[in-house]
Amino acid sequence: MWNYTDKVKEHFFNPKNAGALETANAVGEVGSITCGDALKLMMKVNPDTNVIEDARFQTFGCGSAIASSSALTEMIIGKTVDEALVITNRDIAEYLGGLPPEKMHCSVMGAEALRAAIANFKGEEWVDDHEEGELVCKCFGIDAAMIERAVTVNNLTTLEEVTNYTKAGGSCQTCHEKIEEVLEAVLAKQAAKPPEKSPLLPVADIKPAPTPAPKADAPVAAAPKMTNVQRMQAIMMAIEEIRPQLQRDGGDVELVDIDGKDIYVRLSGACTGCSQSASTMMGVQMKLVEKLGEFVRVKPASLLAKV
């Protein structure tokens, strides 16, 4: 028997916001009956304020899938869509007090449904992950993009973890080699140090903090830890790298604050009402994770006042 937390049991046995929402103006459907779990998330969003006033779900799946769906609705009601779109599967799992590793894919399904529903609200024709990249796991229809995202957001390091979080490779197993290739590529990106004379890190202008002398047996290739100033510079430079792309489309992004792992940004111009803003935020987050070599969460500045 799975070792579910009391919170998971509570949300399974007494799910909140279950059933159809007739007044929904944002619907996200992910999963399939073939895969063994599916979620239809329905939200009523106030078009003037972008606040999610109600949310309901219908789920085909196991105890943790139903609990994750219930938790998700509780987490998003009262939030604006921009506030909601930064919710990751980790947030859902944490809200529930954790899920068994083999069940983390249930939380991923919740996060995917949320993205789909928000895209639907914005009039965007949501293209699910299967069309973003090469299909890796044919049994469960998981593509490289979804694996990359799961690896990045959840700091996954092994094939087994990827399967637990995405289901990829959980059936015929013929895709294991391909999954490992994707995993290795992401990990390599994360581990990659910026070149010494990288324009992203004007280290010449930064006074390096004194570092302790390395021990004799310390691994030679160990990446040096950034000082706070270096880290802030890296974040600023990464944002600067992204801005020209957004400006070409009439939008922009600015760094507002840094609070540990949480990076607050403000989208402006065409980006504010853009149907792709969810993807933009995710893209900024991916870029920062890549540049920093650590997991960070990108959140809208509107959340800052509530911190």
Partner: protein, 400 residues
């Protein structure tokens, strides 16, 4: 009522009389059966008595045909590996797609690592073996045919004697994994064409960790475990004397209770199925309705998922089992359901209720009272149910 246990195909409660028979083996008769003194001799005598009890249950001609092992899995592995070693020029195995992993995983390994040819015979929508495919696979190169007697998920019985005769006709050994069948249906191995048969103690009210392999006299045999001379050198290792004595007692009791299993227990199973089918739309019994174990009811509920069903059953004090992916941690639904072509709409919701001689009518009534509400509750959450609707006219399950 403290709880309704309907997961007897997974494991059974150890019978009180079995426990009573075992207890002296821990304190009073603790000697090593191989030792040359009275302490060991007493244990040796008890083991031989157990051998005779198992012989009687199987209807075997000789007690020496019973080899005690640690599990059904060990028995299965021993039988198949023995055949390959005894007939090294034969490089083919025949089995079915619905076998227990104890056979399927070994066959996969032998195919991938040793280049053995494995024919996996398909089944039809009721779980019946494709006899034509079996005939086509038979050849003088077949070292061993291994078919389960009864399927652990659906209870469907294979025509074992017929299948064994066909194997003998091409000179192949015939093994059956009878873990689910032993103790539930009458057997007379002395008159059969079966060369080897596996059984497991904990499926028939004996403890876990003990099993047996029947090896018909005259069958060429090679041991898997080599070492001492226990079990007439066919299975080395100090005997699990308490477990073996428990298995012997359980075999004796199974013989006594077989009529009950095939009348009262069968009637309870049928009552359970009829009541659920009548009260719950869009569900059906899987397997062969006419040729099944008397204790097994596997009901597939459309549009909901098995683990969720089990959690709610458990909340109501009922223990059952499911072929759903989520219960096992494997991410695919039961290979048995898939092999039978059960659609995904139902395969994920397949739920197994397996009864035993301990099961009472009161317990079955409780399950009948609870199940419809559970299914309704989960379907109210299911996006597929709301699409199809309880009034889905024209719904035609694969099995009716």
């Amino acid at each position: 009522m403290t709880g309704v246990y309907l997961d007897n195909n997974a494991t059974t409660r150890v019978d009180d009389a079995v426990v009573e028979a075992m207890l002296p083996l821990f304190t009073q008769h603790f000697g090593n059966a191989s030792s040359m003194h009275a302490f060991g001799g007493a244990v040796g005598g008890l083991i031989e008595k157990a051998r005779q009890q198992v012989q009687a249950l199987l209807g075997a001609a000789h007690d020496t045909e019973i080899v005690f092992t640690a599990s059904g899995t060990e028995s299965d592995n021993t039988a198949i590996l023995s055949a390959l070693e005894a007939y090294p020029k034969k490089r083919t195995i025949i089995t079915s797609v619905v076998e227990h992993p104890a056979v399927l995983s070994l066959c996969d390994y032998l195919e991938n690592k040793r280049g053995i040819t494995v024919h996996r015979i398909p089944v039809d929508s009721r779980g019946n073996l494709d006899i034509d495919a079996y005939k086509a696979a038979l050849s003088p190169d077949v070292a061993i045919v291994s078919f389960m007697w009864a399927n652990n998920e659906t209870g469907t019985l294979f025509p074992i004697e017929e299948l064994a005769k066909m194997a003998k006709a091409v000179g192949a050994l015939f093994h059956t994994d009878a873990v689910q069948a032993v103790g539930k249906i009458p057997m007379r191995l002395a008159d059969s064409s079966i060369d080897m048969l596996s059984l497991s103690g904990h499926k028939l009210h004996a403890p876990k960790g003990v099993g047996a392999l029947y090896v018909k006299r005259g069958t060429r045999f090679r041991p898997m475990l080599r070492g001492g001379h226990q079990e007439r050198s066919r299975r080395a290792g100090t005997e699990n004397a308490p477990g073996i004595v428990g298995l012997g007692k359980a075999a004796e009791l199974a013989l006594q209770h077989m009529a009950d299993e095939n009348t009262r227990v069968r009637a309870l199973r049928d009552k359970l199925e009829r009541a659920i089918l009548a009260a719950v739309p869009n569900c059906f019994v899987t397997g062969n309705p006419d040729l099944r174990l008397p204790n097994t009811a596997n009901i597939a509920f459309e549009y909901i998922e098995g683990e969720a069903i089990l959690l709610l059953l458990n909340e109501n004090g009922i223990a059952a089992s499911s072929g759903s992916a989520c219960t096992s941690g494997s991410l695919e639904p039961s290979h048995v359901m898939r092999a039978m072509g059960v659609p995904y709409t139902a395969a994920h919701g397949a739920t197994r209720f397996s009864l035993s001689r301990d099961t009472t009518e009161e317990e079955i009534d409780h399950v009948i009272a609870v199940v419809p509400g559970i299914i309704e509750r989960l379907r109210a959450l299911s996006p597929y149910w709301s699409k199809s609707g309880a009034d889905a006219k024209g719904f035609a399950p694969v099995y009716s």
